[in-house]
């Protein structure tokens, strides 16, 4: 659960991140007739057969499980788009391509429950796996460049699940580096006080993408 294992660094379990991701909206095509649902999070219009409508992901999966709808794949999950993203990821060693924030969770849920609604499901699955691997390698190689002077690490376009994966490690590493670095900087300034006045410096920010 959140914050259970270590109080200083709260982490989410993967299931929790998935739960948050289920709030994303997705298009479905129902095959039954149903009245409008008035929920706390919103109203979802009367469901008519073969008329597409937008609902949250959790509702879509629930309806799909009962065989009451078919899910329409989101645009970014087509084979062409994913191949494009994969190529772009491979070409730029420090940048991350813009992808939906919860793409890992959404793709997993859809591939699990709606694999008959997705064209070329095996291709899509392997492409997403490859994209994930490439991005994770980039994160790792970027982490290698953290030195003691890093105050913050900037990772642009990282998705929710990837962030959750590296969060405890990165937080602790930054803490450890900070602990090792600050007293020595003060001590060294004491011994070499004649060099220059101690400026409260911010250190170079370590970007994982070129400015």
């Amino acid at each position: 659960m959140a914050g259970q294992t270590d109080h200083s660094i709260s982490i989410f379990s993967a299931a929790e991140v998935e739960f948050i991701a289920e709030d994303e909206m997705i298009e479905i095509v129902p095959n039954i007739r149903m009245n409008a649902l008035n929920l706390l999070c919103g109203d979802f219009g009367p469901f008519l057969p073969q008329i597409p409508c937008t609902v949250p992901l959790w509702l879509a999966v629930a309806l799909k499980k009962r065989g009451k709808c078919s899910i329409r794949t989101p645009d970014w999950m087509s084979v062409e788009k994913l191949t494009q993203v994969l190529e772009a990821e491979r070409e730029s060693p420090r940048e991350f391509q813009p992808l939906p924030f919860h793409y890992v969770e959404i793709s997993r849920l859809l591939l699990d429950h709606a694999h008959d609604d997705i064209p070329e499901v095996y291709m899509v699955r392997s492409l997403i796996e490859d994209i994930r691997n490439v991005r994770f390698h980039k994160v790792e190689s970027g982490l290698e460049t953290i030195s003691g002077r890093t105050h913050a690490v900037k990772l642009k376009n990282l998705s929710a699940m990837e962030v959750n994966l590296v969060r405890p490690f990165m937080a602790r590493v930054l803490q450890a580096f900070y602990k090792h670095d600050s007293p020595e900087m003060v001590q060294q300034a004491d011994t070499s006080a004649s060099k220059r006045p101690q400026v409260v410096d911010r250190g170079p920010r370590r970007d994982l993408r070129p400015r």
Binding site: T5, D6, I9, I11, S13, A14, A15, E18, R90, P93, R108, D112, Y122, R125, S126, E129, D130, N133, V134, F136, H137, K138, E140, S141, L143, E144, I146, S147, G148, M161, N164, L165, V166, R167, P168, F169, R172, V173, A176, F177, K179, H180, D181, P183, E184, Q187, Q188, T191
Partner: protein, 187 residues
């Protein structure tokens, strides 16, 4: 002072340091195994636990000599190959101890030395910790100090949990993807 209640802090302060007494002390002959009277002479070299040495040093009763773990031999070892130095079995509290010792001892090079060691070992640790699986404990884990082990454990447990979540409902179907593993070379 971190953690009055922190267990690893308490354990760390139990490490022995060698001190030289500036003053004589009566009634504590227990500390010096070689003494006949129940007292410690001035100038005697004794091994004390760190918590005691720390207090006495603050009152200027003793002066602490640098223990061997920060001495020349260790520095040479670290320079040779930082990742291979076995901190786990010999000095599990290497970093914490160094940080505590640093203000008390006159040697200013301990601080940068600690950081240098940590930075070098960190690079090696990074890649290995994320890919380590649940059951197989790679040998290098035994060489990590307590602090590094916590880092390693954080990375590994989050990775393992993520994998479990992925395979949760699929069972056998995930094996079709495993065959696609190719090392993507970014450099």
């Amino acid at each position: 002072m971190p953690g009055y209640y922190d267990i690893s802090d308490i354990l760390m302060e139990d490490e022995a340091v060698s001190v030289v007494f500036h003053v004589g002390a009566n009634g504590v002959g227990l500390l010096d195994p070689g003494t006949e009277t129940n007292s410690v002479e001035k100038g005697a070299k004794i091994d004390l636990p760190f918590w005691l040495a720390h207090e006495l040093c603050r009152r200027r009763a003793v002066s602490i000599t640098i223990p061997s773990c920060f001495g020349q031999k260790m520095k040479k070892d670290v320079q040779a190959d930082a990742a291979c130095v076995d901190l786990g079995t010999r000095y599990p509290y290497f970093y914490e101890f160094g940080c505590k010792l640093f203000p008390l001892v006159g040697d200013k090079s301990i601080g940068p030395f600690l950081r240098h060691t940590f930075a070098n070992r960190y690079k090696e640790m990074l890649s290995k910790s994320h890919t380590a699986s649940l059951n197989a404990i790679p040998k290098f884990v035994l060489r990590l100090s307590k602090e590094e082990y916590q880092l390693f454990e954080a990375a590994r447990s989050s990775m393992v949990e993520f994998k479990k979540w992925r395979v949760r409902d699929l069972g056998l179907m995930k094996t079709t993807i495993v065959g696609h593993k190719r090392k993507t070379d970014l450099h």
